[in-house]
């Protein structure tokens, strides 16, 4: 008969047989790789911008972080006898996000240690992708914050001026370090904040564009929002988690964040710190976030509330990273509380 293709394992069979598999036989064009690399692509603009804000060393730190995450992933998968899946981009994404949440003035050695911790202990020991309870990048950050508290809380840099992207190379970070807006606000009060960063529309716009001290990738609200919007457009994420996080942060900051009740500045709370990065790129991590809509909203509200709690009353100026970490293991609990609505129960059955 006509040109037949025979599946390999059945090549010896006397009758030529066609491939058989369970339905469905067609699949959507989406894949894990595509999702991961799209997210990576969405994070590229803020990374490029950070080179112009904090200098060229941010690129170096990011590269070290990404390479070490990929290397650790490959080595752990080899060592544990699993399929090496570094091409799916999840390790690249972890590395990128890890670099995004550390200060721009730290030593590049830090992300290497964090990568070992985040990828090996945080992910592969627990069964690999899909089985980790905590967002590996944030776990890496928490590890760094615990191990190198001084570097992680003080290696902040002022934005460079007039494209002097090499100006921080070779300088001692102690000499040029500054404080993040949230730290100034928390430790020295609103007056010192206004003195250091100005006020009014100019402040919001420069903060929104990213011209402020902060972690490598968190500063540019605009580019992160654009990236997030693209993910929303591609339907890789839904508005539930980011919307409820940002909404809760804004609302609670407005109510409790000021000198008196209802005197806080919700807009400032969103554009300073890592709220946008956290809401769009960290909290929406598939593995560690809940899956049903209601639980996503509850999850987002809890993250927002914890963020504001830590920002206003806690020991750290920025709380979103810990808020997400604290809520991560609860996502399974939330999913089991808010199960998807079944089509219809059996008649006369469970009421």
């Amino acid at each position: 008969m006509i040109k037949q293709q025979v599946s390999e394992d059945q090549a010896t069979a006397p009758v030529k047989l066609w491939k058989v598999s369970v339905s469905p036989h067609i699949k959507s064009g989406e894949s894990v790789e595509k999702i991961m690399w799209t997210v990576v692509a969405c994070l590229m603009p803020p990374l490029i911008l950070s080179v112009f804000i904090f200098g060229i060393q941010t690129l170096f730190i990011t590269a070290v972080s990404v390479v070490s995450c990929v290397a650790v992933e490959a080595v752990s998968q080899k060592a544990l006898g699993r399929r090496v899946t570094i091409k799916d981009g999840s390790a690249v994404l972890t590395g990128l996000l890890l670099a995004f949440v550390i200060p721009p003035g730290v030593s590049p050695l830090l992300p290497i240690l964090a990568a070992v911790f985040a990828i090996y202990i945080g992910k592969h020991l627990l069964g690999g992708i899909g089985y980790n309870f905590f967002n590996p990048a944030l776990l890496g950050r928490a590890f760094l914050l615990a191990s190198f508290p001084v570097a992680m809380t003080s290696a902040w840099l002022l934005p460079v001026e007039s494209f002097g992207i090499f100006s921080y190379l070779g300088t001692s970070i102690d000499a040029v370090s500054t404080a993040t807006p949230l730290a100034v606000m928390k430790e020295q009060g609103m007056a010192a904040f206004t003195e250091a960063f100005g006020s009014g529309a100019g402040l919001y716009s420069s903060f929104f564009l990213g011209w402020r001290p902060g972690c490598i990738g968190e500063t540019s609200g605009l580019l992160l929002l654009l990236g997030g919007a693209y993910l929303l457009y591609r339907k890789y994420i839904t508005y539930h988690i980011p919307g409820s996080i940002l909404g809760t942060i804004a609302l609670l900051t407005w109510v409790f964040g000021g000198e008196t009740y209802f005197g806080g500045d919700p807009l400032l709370a969103l554009v300073t710190g890592g709220a946008i990065l956290g809401a769009f790129f960290m909290a929406t991590d598939y593995v560690t976030s809940p899956t049903t809509r209601i639980s996503q909203v509850v999850y987002g509200i809890c993250i927002g509330a914890l963020t504001v709690l830590i920002r206003l009353k806690g020991g750290y100026p920025e709380g979103i990273c810990y808020a997400i970490l604290l809520m991560n293991p609860l996502s399974t609990v939330l999913d089991s509380w808010f199960k998807p609505k079944r089509f219809a129960p059996p008649q006369g059955g469970a009421e």
Binding site: S147, F148, P149, V150, T153, S154, D174, A175, E187, G315
Partner: protein, 298 residues
């Protein structure tokens, strides 16, 4: 029924045995414990004064404890001090009552031994007696005056204030001119690697040698410590250089710990307040003692 009786008897016997064992241990250890605690306190104090390690403490050094009480009456308050009269044979205390503006209200002799004065309960009772009826006494703090052959060489002050996490408990030594001699952090719960660095010599030693004038207005600066000063603070250079650098940075504010400004600030503010309050009080007390010509041990 018989079972229950046996059980009860056996349990009672075991309990009594246990209580005996524990009681005997307690009797044997309680004195040692008290002694050790006192010795430890003494050691901290002496270390603050500079008698560390091999440096022997000369016999001429002695310590005198002053206890301060708040005496509250119907609608007035005053400060009562318990001032030691001397060691050994003629030991005992003076009760000195001073009003809030520094005027003497009265003084009287209180006969409790030095040993007993360390026991808070006995002291409180003696104090209440001395203050008279209708007054409530509350222990406020205690200060130690250190003398060398009868002349004062230092005061040891304790204090507790808010840190970044919980409170910080310190003890510090100042000389009669209220210049800092030393600072020791006794208790704190600051973050390891950050606020906990207040325990480190390079932070504590910054206070050494600061004169009262500087201490009164001391603050922190958020700048890295200059390398040469850091070496001196860590005692990595010779004694002379340390003294030289100390005097060079004498008028300088405290360099804050990197990443722990709040803890650093808490310590410097706490130290400032303790020293200021003490300086104010000890001047008044000294004046009163002089006026009344009370023979105190220091």
């Amino acid at each position: 029924m018989k079972d229950i009786i046996t059980i009860i008897i056996r349990l009672t016997v075991s309990c009594m045995l246990a209580a005996t064992v524990i009681g005997v241990t307690f009797i044997f250890t309680s004195n040692a414990k008290k002694h050790n605690e006192h010795a430890k306190e003494q050691q901290v104090m002496l270390e603050l004064l500079g008698y560390k390690g091999d440096v022997a403490v000369p016999d001429s050094i002695s310590m005198h404890e002053i206890y301060r009480y708040i005496i509250s009456g119907q609608d007035s308050q005053s400060i009562g001090y318990l001032v030691p009269t001397g060691h050994g044979e003629n030991n005992g205390f003076f009760f000195v009552n001073i009003d809030l503006n520094g005027k003497l209200i009265g003084s009287k002799r209180v006969d409790i031994s030095e040993e007993n004065s360390r026991d808070a309960e006995i002291r409180d009772i003696a104090m209440a007696e001395a203050a008279g009826s209708g007054f409530v006494v509350d222990f406020a703090d205690q200060t130690i005056v250190v003398t060398d052959s009868g002349s004062r060489i230092a005061y040891l002050l304790g204090g507790k204030f808010q840190g970044f996490k919980t409170f910080i408990n310190v003890m510090l030594a100042v000389d009669p001119e209220f210049e800092m001699v030393g600072l020791e952090i006794l208790e704190h719960e600051e973050d390891p690697g950050l606020g906990a660095e207040i325990e480190q010599d390079y932070f504590k030693n910054q206070f050494k040698g600061k004169p009262f004038e500087v201490l009164k207005t001391i603050d922190v600066v958020k700048k890295p410590i200059p390398a040469e000063y850091l070496d001196a603070l860590n005692s990595r250079v010779s004694e002379e250089d340390i003294l030289k650098l100390r005097s060079q940075y004498r008028d300088q504010d405290i360099y804050a710990l990197t990443g722990a400004t709040i803890s650093s600030k808490a310590v410097s503010n706490g130290v400032k307040n303790i020293v200021k309050k003490f300086a104010y009080r000890v001047t008044i007390l000294d004046n009163v003692l002089k006026e009344q010509q009370l023979a105190v041990s220091f």
